[in-house]
């Protein structure tokens, strides 16, 4: 697996970079045309299969996505019957196979804006996800060690509570 990564450094390698005071960018190249990658981001039954990997300690309880400009989305997490957390917001831009922009409103007004671009090159898709926060302070808080830990604790507590 590692040998394959060395031969194809651009593939299967996720990068994360803080590009400015207010911005963080995640990049990855997928071995498929943009229409397929886009489909996996915009059909809830596909989206819910990858958004909460086991290692994140979260499990998706419900996933509603009305993928059109002004349409809303809501992803709820929980253990058993109880909902413990939800991400929600609305789509600001929807350009098939190339661009998605949505708000993140679970933290109240002024949450970050997420932009995902899908750029097809020779049958592969270069994906870039950019989160722009309203201020340096907001991203600092989000990146803050204590806050990150709180979130990790929450996920761990849920994970541990869910174990038999």
């Amino acid at each position: 697996m590692d040998a394959r990564r060395e031969r194809e450094p651009s593939l299967e390698r996720t990068t994360a970079e803080r590009t400015s005071d207010r911005e963080i960018v995640i990049r990855r190249t997928f071995n498929a045309p943009a229409r397929i990658v886009f489909e996996a981001w915009t059909r809830p039954e596909l989206f819910k299969r990858w958004w909460a990997p086991k290692s994140s300690g979260m499990s998706i309880q419900s996933c509603e996505m009305d993928v059109r400009v002004g349409g809303k989305y809501r992803i709820a997490f929980g253990n058993g019957g109880a909902e413990s957390m939800a991400f929600f917001g609305k789509y600001l831009e929807v350009t098939p196979h190339s661009r998605l922009v949505w708000t993140n409103e679970e933290g109240g007004d002024g949450g970050p804006i997420t932009t995902v671009t899908f750029e097809e090159r020779a049958g592969k898709t270069l994906l870039a996800l950019t989160e722009v926060h309203t201020s340096k302070q907001c991203l600092d808080d989000n990146l803050g060690f204590a806050d990150g830990l709180r979130e990790t604790f929450g996920q761990l507590d849920e994970l541990l509570a869910s174990l038999p």
């Binding site: 498929a32 397929i36 990858w50 958004w51 990997p53 060690f145 990150g148 830990l149």
Partner: protein, 121 residues
């Protein structure tokens, strides 16, 4: 490097999986503390608390400094490293998501191919 990061991530995860160690981190997020203070706070033996702090230290979540006979514990090392560590954790979350996404994509590609074959026949 990848191997190192993975090992380091595992160490962080193992360090965080214990409730006492999480409480120690929460306590240190409020203020630095000595081993003795932590032992008192959590009603544990010095040996017991030293063991927990050792695990946190190995995971890079806590640093300690001994002055005379007093060992002081504090969170992380510096802001920049904390931020780099956070970004790395965030990257790993996305990497895990994208590994799952790769599987969904492979499935869609296979389905598209199969549908294409059906159309041609």
């Amino acid at each position: 490097m990848v191997q190192y990061t993975q090992t380091h991530f595992d160490a962080s995860f193992a360090a965080l999986s214990d409730v006492t160690r999480r409480r120690v981190l929460e306590q240190l997020a409020r203020a630095d503390a000595t081993i003795t203070e932590l032992a008192d706070k959590f009603d544990m033996s010095l040996t017991g608390i030293k063991k927990h702090v050792g695990v946190l230290e190995q995971a890079g979540l806590v640093t300690t400094e001994k002055v005379g006979r007093v060992r002081t514990c504090r969170l992380g090392t510096c802001r920049l490293e904390e931020e780099a560590a956070w970004i790395e954790r965030y990257r790993q979350l996305w990497d895990a998501r994208f590994n799952e996404l790769d599987q969904v994509i492979e499935e869609l590609k296979r389905k598209e191919k199969a549908d294409g074959r059906k159309k041609r026949t």
